[in-house]
Subunit: 418 residues, 2 copies
């Protein structure tokens, strides 16, 4: 059984593949003719199979050379699987508790075999729609963000290591271009891919396309996205890229990873939580008005940032005499200066986070790909009300983000939207 | 005659090399046994030979695997010649009038053969010390900066082209690290390489090392230098990297080139003009008080920025419907918005320029490599007076740069230093 060239697998040929790869067959154990295989790819891009054997399980993800949800008419390099595998390993190295283990990667086949996140793991976004609280979510996701971003930044690394890694991830340009298009461009112009809750948001969508102030700001953020190699970011850290149980938080699907601005990851996560918050009124039924749940989301937003900041700072302090090049110990050698530098660092990062988070909200309301939190509100007028609130907030935050200095002020702004 | 491996050339072996390479021998013509060869490398890093034959001339520059002015104790990759050659060709493509033509590049030998900039071309810095006015300098150097920076930025290019080029220049990391050390680090800490006009500037050097506000700002600039791939910058655009006559301005020595922040180039040039300005009082003799010359320098600073801005804007307007990805025509499609976006762009760029320019001034006064403008002032007390003024201005500008909105305000600040 040779796979010397790329070929798309299906449930049947997947069995042959697993049999041919010892690293996989040994994981599953026993009789490989009795595997349970289920295709579950509900994302936009890839095929994902759950493979369960007599003594083990795994997930196999294969990238095809186009975007699954659109079809062969939108080609997309299958090399994205390579960057996803490298990132899963690199992020897993720094935060093993929150990144699924990779068992096997086949570059020819654009195929990753990794840990199967068994039930009751579900996609966080679905939990947020169902109104489930995850008491450890902020703790876990802040662990993930602090560790992956700190350890791949110049605060920890030498410029030699950094530039080498940056150069490699420049190869993931097609995925970066997709983000540039759908996040930073399409929502601000007429595009065949854009859609919104019509006719309710027709004027709102047009207003976005005609808002010069917004366009000036989105240009700055796009430049930062294209030009600033601050850390190895996940690149698509919305609530659909996180799987959760009450005790576990696992970050998946980093195929958009590259060296980019940290605020793009943190903003994606917080922005999607804000969308979940505004969607709650659309999910409220009878006595379950979701009021408490909305408060839990706001608390999670605040905790995530504050814990991220605390943990990132702790890593910084721990490694301040290490080989990182951004802040040499011989220069930043006194506690007051360290505090001063960190204060400025997090203020700038909060502004980036709020900017990118707002851009991510806007694109989910008037761009090509929407979020289930809002799409699942069946009544379009009710959905439109939720969307208008989120859009109002996102536009304001994008333009006014430099006036905010603390996450609590952002949370107040969310709460104050009527 | 084979040169299958690297070997350092001298006046004698250079002749063998020239004879073996038709692209070179044909340039020089006639009897190759009658070449005039002169080693003239007065820079810090390389060996440079002028080769004159019966019917032509050229310059041959060879990089050795260490820094010439320090010796083999400070190794430095000779691959820098590759990045220099690529940059000369790329910058030459966009601004052929101000970049010497490359005739031949040999990667194995780390050797570039290029146009000999014949007399009366001299290094601009020497002209500035002599008090010579170059009426076309601002016009020419703004041509160079506008064209090389615009055409290698995302305003003109697609992200696909851009990321490919960025990845390649990540390979020039050793030269970037040298800049990081001597510009952004050493002046702010105790370093064996630092020196200054002692004892006059002892307290000033110590004050730089103890200035927390300055260290916060230099950290931001260092991050930008390491992380922001805005355009293919020269990387060392001081007045020693420019050769001039009254009619010609030629930019040489881009071995530090990489994709970095534009303000680093513009700031290097303007910062070195400001150093030349402050050095004038040290060169004033008798009736030649250099007052008019100082005014000419200030005018050149102002003209350079204003012409750069005008030309860069013209290129932007000319190519606004092209394939550049930063500002898509479908989004930035109206004249007022275009003005708004450009206003913000140049305001941010001026702040970067002033920041990097100030950092370059500081390092030339208390860091490892000083400038001849000041070093050639024989009287140390007189030299110290000039240096103190430049240092005072640079520290102020570095910290307060965001308060300046126009180059005329910067020029006023220079003029107001007593």
């Amino acid at each position: 059984m040779a796979f010397s060239e790329f070929r798309p697998l299906d449930e049947k040929t997947l069995v042959d593949y697993v049999k041919a790869v010892p690293a996989l067959s040994s994981k599953l154990g026993g009789n490989l003719d009795d595997l349970t295989i289920k295709e579950v790819g509900d994302g936009n891009l890839n095929f994902v199979y759950i493979v369960i054997g007599s003594s083990g399980s795994l997930v196999i993800k294969q990238a095809l050379p186009y975007i699954r949800c659109i079809g062969e008419s939108w080609p997309m390099t299958k090399e994205r699987a390579y960057f996803e595998a490298v990132t899963l390993k690199e992020h897993g190295r720094w935060c093993p508790n929150n990144v699924p283990e990779v068992f096997h990667f086949d570059r020819t086949m654009s195929l990753i075999a990794m840990r199967y996140l068994e039930p009751p793991h579900i996609i966080l976004r679905k939990g947020l729609i169902a109104g489930v609280e995850y008491p450890l979510l902020a703790e876990h996701i802040s662990d993930y963000m602090a560790n992956t971003l700190f350890y791949t930044s110049l605060i920890y690394r030498s410029t030699t290591e950094h530039k080498k890694a940056v150069a490699e991830f420049c190869g993931n340009v097609e995925l970066c271009r997709l983000t540039e298009q759908v996040v930073f461009s399409d929502p601000y112009k007429v595009s065949e891919y854009n859609h919104w809750t019509s006719p309710y948001l027709d004027e709102d969508a047009e207003a976005v396309r005609n808002d010069d102030g917004l366009k000036v700001e989105i240009a700055e953020l796009k430049s930062k996205f294209c030009e600033r190699s601050q850390a190895l970011i996940h690149g698509d850290l919305h609530t659909g890229s996180v799987m959760v149980t009450h005790d576990s938080t696992q970050v998946i699907d980093p195929e958009f990873a590259f060296y980019g601005p940290m605020g793009f990851d943190i903003g994606a996560f917080l922005g999607n939580l804000i969308l979940a918050y505004f969607a709650q009124d659309g999910h409220a039924v009878g006595e379950n008005d979701r009021k408490n749940y909305k408060e839990w989301i706001l608390k999670t937003i605040e905790d995530t940032w504050n814990l991220f900041r605390k943990k990132f700072t702790a890593l910084w302090d721990k490694h301040k005499d290490g080989s990182g090049e951004a802040y040499l110990p011989a220069i930043y050698n006194n506690p007051e200066l360290q505090l001063l530098v960190q204060k400025k660092y997090f203020e700038d990062l909060l502004h980036d986070t709020v900017g990118f988070g707002s851009a991510k909200m806007i694109r989910r309301i008037v761009g090509v790909a929407h979020v289930e939190d809002l799409e699942s509100i069946a009544d379009p007028s009710k959905r439109a009300t939720c969307e208008k609130r989120a859009l109002y907030l996102a536009k304001m935050l994008l333009k006014e983000r430099r006036k905010f200095h603390d996450i609590s002020e952002i949370v107040s702004a969310v709460r104050n939207v009527q």
